[in-house]
Subunit: 219 residues, 2 copies
């Protein structure tokens, strides 16, 4: 039976647009003007790679003090916007359906555990479900390390492991790990962008995935 | 020689994400929870149709008092976010390049003229360029009326008229008017979504369009 690895930000919680705004504000405060849509297309990459991508868009190098300042500003802006974030519909019901069928699943997020705890509360993650975060696999997505670590924790083989994510970076990391990727449209990407990045199936959101679990071979 | 009709919001000014946030806040204040990405995919439709689309997402009818309240709340939230909006790079230079070549162009926006004036100032629209707004063509996009009115104002025939827009709704309205549509990625849609809606060419932003005017047959 399949085992599921869920991305958190933008996949289970509606937080992508707040990240776009938070990064936009942080960059602007450092004198860097990058269009919203360009930031949006990079969300889902993590940590160091995200800043590398922003530097590329800005057409200049970011030194360490600038990177630290950007990270701190993003954290501050995101904290301010966090109260507006909600879980997507039927996420707790999806978890319950998986548990009812004895299917294993984990959360894999590139955030720091302390930053992601409020989101885990929001999506009502059941007790005992593994959460793999930055400290477990520091290499940022689309590096496959985070998902590989999650599968190791679940004890699932590559042919039975399915990654559910909202960004092309999730799908690319899933491919590199030899896992199947299921894309959700919740991150604001178009369906063909997700299939182009290797998604096996694309669903609108967790609620639609829940009603189509049979497409992943689950009776 | 081609004549250009430019959409304003999201095409010349980086305002789509602020509209998403403003609608999200307005809807939530009325007890309606719709995911950000679903709102994003509707921006670029106008007025009555946008509210019709939101009602569909919310799974209920919106009566007239609710519609009026949503519109007023959106206007208030958007006004608060407007100071963060910038023009996309090289928009004044694009206008200058068109004028240098004696090419006709107009702005076609489904907003009220009083609401769009700050955006027109932001993109530094040259004096004398026609601006077609809601009062000239009340039917909302993807109805082609707004673009047809703009072409009439420019005196351009359908085979020489090019619509530049950032949303699939612009491309659909352009097709219905028998005009060529050029899509920009500035609204956050993927390239294949724009070509799928009929875009003749897709460019990243106004700056890239400016460097590829020859692809529209302009020497």
């Amino acid at each position: 039976m399949p085992a599921f690895i869920f991305d958190l930000d933008g996949t289970l919680a509606d937080s992508v647009y707040q990240h776009v705004i938070a990064w936009h504000s942080a960059l602007r405060e450092c004198g860097l003007e990058i269009a919203m849509w360009r930031l949006h297309r990079k969300i889902g990459m993590s940590g160091a790679l995200l800043l590398r991508a922003f530097a590329d868009e800005a057409g200049r190098e970011f030194d360490d003090p600038l990177k630290a300042r950007l990270e701190a500003l993003h954290t501050a802006h995101f904290a301010r916007l966090r109260r507006d974030i909600k879980a997507f519909p039927e996420v707790p019901e999806l978890f319950a359906d998986l548990q009812k069928r004895d299917l294993k699943f984990a959360i894999a997020t590139s955030g720091d555990l302390k930053d992601v705890q409020p989101l885990l509360d929001l999506v009502q993650l059941p007790h005992g479900i593994p959460v793999i975060s930055k400290k477990d696999a520091p290499n940022p997505k689309p590096d496959p390390a985070l998902f590989l670590k999650a599968a190791e924790k679940l004890g699932s083989r590559s042919e039975e492991t399915i990654v559910v994510g909202d960004s092309v970076w999730d799908m690319l990391a899933a491919r590199r790990a030899h896992f199947l990727g299921i894309g959700l449209l919740t991150g604001g990407y178009g369906e063909s962008e997700m299939t182009g990045a290797g998604a096996f199936r694309v669903f609108a959101d967790p609620a639609q995935l829940r009603r189509h679990l049979y497409e992943a071979g689950i009776p």
